[in-house]
């Protein structure tokens, strides 16, 4: 007997009483979605900036290698993207568009088409996510309602920069992935 059939037969042999799946109710959310979203991003050690601040950041020239996956900002691109994510190792700034944000925790939903290469939002030194402030939901239930059963091969919530507290519980930003997350809320 294969291990698959062995495991499934062992489970079948256990007498178990039926248990219904519960229905998830709609939980009310009090307060302003945008204010709550911003507070959540800040708590996750990200930043929220305006479009004007974003442009002055780009003009400042602090980022040597820039790649925008958003057509509107592709004039700032100064590297070519190939199929090989390893070549993104020295990328200083990636700009991507988020589909929607979640007010209760600051999580921003992304799919394959939003990042091109899946490594992009992780391997870049700094990350900017452009998000429409009309695209905010209250909580994770509404988030999964909105995602539905889409078929993207990879789906990702990003809620802040890469961080760790593994050394004596001291918070350090920039463990392996992006050292900063700036959300441009438009």
């Amino acid at each position: 007997m294969s291990s698959r059939d062995l495991i499934l037969s062992k489970i079948k042999a256990v007498p178990l009483e039926a248990k219904e799946l519960p229905t998830i109710p709609e939980f009310e959310f009090e307060g302003d979605l945008k204010a709550r979203f911003i507070a959540s991003i800040l708590a996750n050690k990200g930043e929220v900036i305006t479009k004007a601040e974003f442009f002055s950041l780009l003009d400042s020239g602090v980022f040597e290698k820039v790649y925008s996956h958003i057509e509107d900002f592709s004039s700032f691109n100064n590297i070519k993207i190939t199929e090989d994510a390893h070549q993104l190792n020295d990328l200083n700034l990636a700009i991507i568009r988020g589909q929607f944000g979640v007010a209760e925790n600051g999580a921003i939903w992304l799919e394959d088409r939003d990042m091109g290469l899946r490594a992009l939002p992780f391997i870049t030194e700094h990350l900017v996510i452009v998000l429409d402030s009309a695209h905010l939901v209250a909580n994770m239930h509404q988030a999964y309602d909105r995602i539905g059963l889409q078929e993207s091969g990879f789906g990702l919530f990003i809620a802040g920069p890469s961080k760790t507290a593994d050394i004596e519980q001291s918070l350090v930003i920039g463990a392996h992935g992006a050292k900063s997350l700036r959300v441009v809320l438009i």
């Binding site: 291990s3 698959r4 489970i11 992780f122 059963l149 091969g153 990702l156 593994d166 001291s170 992935g177």
Partner: protein
């Protein structure tokens, strides 16, 4: 060795054990604060518990549904009945890909299966990429906590091992500096690995996808740069529908570290064009636990670690004192199911205060199961010292004359006996406790004098 002996060793370094206790309590406190900011918190716990009840009642059909959908998404699905088969499957994939160095993100299951030593024995370099796990790997230790792997170490210890392994400045204990050194070291490993291994937080039957949560982004750094992603998943990690992720994501990070969500929550549905995803579904004792009506609820665990952070015993004895992959209260009900002989002292490493049950996001009745395991263990291997004491007590309490005589004798003897005898090795109760002050006379004598 038993838990009390290991715990005594942990308590030798008083300053460190006090820090351990207070730091974990601080994490527990953060969990309390953030859970109270969610008005429907208790509803969420109830929902999560009911969803998991449904999972356990239909585990086989959800696993088959998951397999069917995952295969349709071009994910390779493997089944392993035990740790040995799991390790063989992983090695087989590595050998087929001619891969001799891998990166691995946090996976308690691979710790349970002892995958690292197995792969190393077969000539594969294994690099744990979670910072805490890399630290304990450098020290040839296991994680002492499932969420905070290096919580038993101080930055001085970490500075020393980094100086030795990564050539950081001697004596530099700055967490920013040390983390940056690890970033540079691990970046090289990420860029060169052809295969990356991850654990799984949730597998979704409805879509055949699986979800991995990290704050560091190390799981994603590994898998998106590698050609092959191997995900190792215990069969109890399955949930029915994608919508149920909403419930679990609201509970997991808040319960674990007091944050509203992990910074990265990755959903793997199908491989990137030209790449491969393998998933290994592992039993290793889980079906046996499912067949134990009193203990099957332990399989509802989502590995948040909240029961460890709150446990007065775990905080004061450290993860290593449990000598089990999952330590703390939940480990003490999971591990006896795997090896009763080895883990027989664990269900006694508890005050049965019930705090673990109170914080559990999926409402596992942990302290009741600890009590149940005690019954099983006492039946299987009666403690001789205690049973002798109980037999004597039984005789004394049954005969009034013997009771009166022994009462008088003890009141007299305890006054004059030196502490070395009163608190000798035979008196296990007295190891950390003082006897109460003795009355001059028995209640019976006092009553005779004062009430006619």
């Amino acid at each position: 060795m038993s838990h009390p002996i290991q715990a005594a060793e942990f308590l030798q370094d008083q300053a460190k054990s006090k820090w351990h206790d207070e730091t974990l309590w601080f994490v527990r406190d953060k969990r309390d604060k953030i859970s109270k900011s969610v008005p429907e918190w208790e509803n969420l716990r109830e929902l999560a518990s009911q969803i998991k009840d449904n999972v356990l009642a239909n585990l086989g059909s959800y696993l088959e549904e998951f397999e069917k959908n995952a295969k349709a998404n071009n994910i390779h699905v493997h089944w392993a009945k035990d740790a040995e088969e799991h390790n063989r499957i992983v090695l087989g994939i590595l050998q087929e890909k001619r891969c001799n160095a891998i990166v691995k993100s946090k996976s308690i299951l691979t710790e349970e299966c002892h995958l690292n030593p197995y792969l190393e024995k077969n000539g594969i370099e294994v690099v744990d990429t979670d910072l805490g796990e890399r630290i304990v790997q450098f020290l040839n230790q296991a994680p002492s906590h499932i969420v905070l792997p290096a919580i038993h170490l101080k930055k001085r210890d970490i500075s020393e091992i980094f100086h030795e392994k990564l050539h950081t400045e001697k004596g530099n204990e700055d967490p920013d500096y040390l983390t940056h050194a690890a970033r540079i070291h691990l970046r090289e490993k990420f860029l060169s690995a052809k295969v990356a291994i991850t654990g799984v937080n949730f597998g979704v039957a409805e879509t055949g996808e699986f979800v991995v949560c990290t704050n560091e982004g190390n799981a994603d750094m590994g898998v998106h740069l590698a050609d092959v992603h191997i995900a190792c998943m215990g069969i109890e990690k399955i949930i029915p529908k994608r919508a149920h992720l909403g419930v679990f994501h609201r509970l997991l990070a808040r319960s674990a570290t007091g944050q509203s969500v992990t910074n990265y929550t990755s959903h793997f549905r199908s491989p990137f064009p030209g790449k491969e995803i393998h998933i290994v579904l592992v039993d290793n004792g889980r079906t046996a636990q499912l067949a134990r009506p009193k203990f099957k609820n332990s399989l509802k665990c989502i590995r948040c670690g909240a029961c460890m952070n709150t446990c007065p015993i775990y905080r004061r004895s450290g993860g290593f004192s449990y000598e089990s992959t999952v330590p703390g209260p939940i480990g003490s009900i999971l591990s006896p199911g795997i090896d009763l002989q080895k883990h027989s002292s664990l269900p006694f490493a508890s005050t049965l205060c019930g705090s673990c049950t109170d914080v559990c996001p999926v409402k596992i009745n942990i302290h009741e199961q600890l009590y149940e395991w005690r019954q099983e263990i006492t039946k299987a291997q009666p403690d001789r010292a205690k049973s002798l004491a109980m037999k004597i007590a039984n005789g004394v309490f049954a005969v009034p004359f013997a009771y009166n005589l022994s009462g008088n004798m003890m009141r007299g003897a305890l006054k004059i006996l030196p502490d070395s005898i009163t608190y000798s090795g035979l008196n296990t109760w007295g190891k950390q406790r003082d006897l109460p002050e003795l009355p001059k006379e028995s209640f019976k004598d006092w009553y005779k004098k004062n009430r006619k």
